[in-house]
Symmetry: C2
Subunit: 422 residues, 2 copies
């Protein structure tokens, strides 16, 4: 087959999914060699040896796929957030290297050898565990999402941040390995067969802020993990090395990093982090008490403002993420007309409890404007609400737990922007 | 609770899983502050801000958890291997940054914008796809292991490499996102409803070695992926950026990186990479033709030579990995006495097809020597063989497809070494 033949075959194939795109790309390619549009040339020299990257980083060509913070959002980067580049990712796993961070007093440096975890309070045998101790208890592995309660928080009052990374990127999804908190509480002499319905644990980190939070005992004994690995390897410093708490499905602020102490108590502490912060202001000015679970939510990651359509009309993959703190995602719908009509998306895999689910809508784009939305449903029957529905209950002054349907206006030129539908 | 109280409670709790370890660790801790053995001190200053790590790397404390090559194994690092630090990982996902590499002529630098994939040969419409074209076809996500056919190859003749990283580390396990090869072949006009039983595809990379391999059409149409993401993000350069072939369950050499061309043919090419290399020498000096599938296999990753037991007797977590190229792992057994008696390990999750499965044996160590082994079984009923069983068929001169049971001698001091059992 000559290159001419392949070119002709491709271009005369009127319905070929890629035809328009190839022409467009070829026209843009700034190469002097006309054959580059046809055949990938062979390398004429050696590439890097296996000693080039003892621990590897992304190629420089992907240098813009990084966590990013928003300068005006916080006064200082030690108490701030950066956002996962979800617009550029696919699948479900978030690499640790670009997984969002939230610190209240910066990411601290601890060594495994120095690490200690105390369990005290209303237990028969208060204990202090070293890291080596933790490794001697039976471990579990689970993929869970961790979402900041403030994710999408800037969008209450209107469409403000232009990009899925910034509107929805306070989330990551990793395979955590750790010891069930239940196991360690039992080791400390907690009678888990007893009446514990009024008992709580208070958890605090070793960073200067300590970030203390109260967790009802039922959750502590259900599925919380004392985790030391994420995606197979040690936690990164910024994710709580050497040990963090995992509270599946509940707001990220409770996933205490550099966890140093767990106190069993007969009530919640009502700490700063669960009163003046991380509570939800309602329309009447009062605040909801205890809103821990992350409600079902979804977002189209591509196309989106940072991931425009660069090809013409024809085949288009619409892709996004859905998740629920109450269990597995069972269905995601996608609308191209701002919620008037919906098509059911394809889930890449059956939803898993408290883990990100990837959805795709394999569709044809007619080249006209779209108001793209996605709507998640979980196994409890919960349906992700519109922004208007949320505002009816919550008003405009909330910060946390905004799980409303997101709208991207996709223009005829393929560019997208963050908009509201009335 | 005072620190004294907690200390006393812990130390007097004779059966506490961690007691011995804590004493040992505390004794070793070179801190001048006696309280360090009791309570993790709070940080007295801020840590890193969120702008410290736009793309993060592991903490320096984990600086030894890296891919490593073996200097004497190959003449040059551009045609060489480095090994995943499986002895230090847990869970199942391998981060791209420490996932093993094998190159035949080095890792080459390509840009998405310049990338082209040709499908030609016995198809009605030969096509050349740009990267942007590939993004317009329906995608799938799957976690698959990729194992080099030579993994464990140095062990045929005896116990040679002292560490799970080196005996079994030519493997990784990632969540791949890509387009089914079937879809692209159909796009190029292959009649997948026709009689294709004698048809093959020949696949080649854009690196100087090209690494051409023949794949029977049934496999090409079954589950092969043209993949562009691993663990959510773009492939790293050393893993074939921007596009590699994924051939689930089959030897890693077929997972062509920087894939440039796929030719449909009426027979195999019998290229260098499938004749003089990547064939298995039998005891009689002849070679097996076509041994693509990776047989069921497992290894204890901890304790192991690079991951000794550092605590005394008592609770011990034995952990390892199991996998099969023929489907899901259904059971893993662990022996402490070189295969005389076996205990069934706990699988962290039900096995998934052609993906790593993590197993644990939560046990008590009496402090005496162990001959640790693991034995995997898959859904086809296949049982991982002993080295003696393999040698009966394959002799001593093979390189590839060594899936025999591995033995670690764990000494009373907790150190481990690679040994053979007769």
């Amino acid at each position: 087959m000559s290159n001419d033949t392949s070119r002709r075959s491709f271009l005369t194939k009127g319905l070929a999914a890629g035809a328009a795109a190839t022409v467009a790309t070829a026209a843009k390619a700034a190469t002097p060699d006309p054959l580059i549009t046809e055949v990938q040339p062979w390398a004429q020299s050696f590439g890097d040896g296996v000693d080039a990257t003892p621990y590897g980083l992304p190629t420089a060509h992907e240098g813009d796929v990084i966590r990013r913070n928003v300068e005006w959002l916080t006064a200082d980067t030690v108490s701030s957030i950066n956002f996962t580049p979800i617009h550029a990712l696919d699948g479900t796993i978030t690499p640790q290297g670009c997984a969002f961070e939230r610190h209240h007093s910066g990411a601290i440096d601890l060594k495994k050898e120095d690490y200690r975890l105390m369990i005290n309070g209303l237990v028969d045998n208060p204990l202090v565990f070293s890291y080596a101790d933790l490794e001697r208890f039976p471990r579990q592995n689970h993929v869970y999402f961790c979402e900041c309660a403030a994710n999408t928080g800037m969008e209450w009052a209107g469409a403000q941040l232009n990009g899925a990374q910034f509107t929805h990127g306070m989330i990551h999804n990793m395979e955590y390995t750790g010891v069930p908190l239940r196991t360690l509480l039992e080791e400390a002499g907690l009678d888990t067969a007893g009446d514990l319905k009024d008992k709580w644990v208070f958890v605090e980190g070793a960073d200067a802020s300590s970030n203390g939070r109260s967790i009802p005992m039922a959750k502590a004994l259900d599925d919380c993990l004392i985790a030391f690995k994420a995606n197979g390897e040690a936690l990164r410093k910024e994710h709580g090395y050497p040990v963090r708490l995992v509270v599946p499905g509940w707001e990220g602020n409770m996933w205490v990093k550099w966890i140093r102490r767990i106190e069993v108590m007969d009530g919640p502490v009502e700490s700063r982090e669960e009163t003046s912060k991380y509570t939800d202001t309602l329309e009447d000015g009062t605040s909801r008490k205890w809103t821990w679970e992350m409600d079902a939510k979804s977002v189209v990651t591509s196309p989106s403002p940072q991931s425009p359509i660069t090809h013409g009309k024809g085949p288009l993959v619409v892709s996004g993420l859905a998740w629920s703190g109450r269990g597995a995602i069972t269905r995601v719908d996608v609308s191209k007309d701002g919620g008037m009509t919906w098509e059911t998306a394809r889930l890449a895999k059956p939803g898993e409890k408290m883990a990100l689910t990837r959805f795709y809508l394999d569709t044809e784009w007619d080249g006209s404007e779209m108001m793209l939305q996605s709507r998640a449903m979980d196994e409890t029957g919960y349906v992700q609400p519109t922004k208007a529905q949320l505002r009816e209950v919550r008003g405009l002054n909330s910060i946390y737990h905004n799980n409303c349907i997101q709208t991207w206006l996709v223009r005829a030129n393929g560019e997208a922007e963050n908009v509201e539908v009335s």
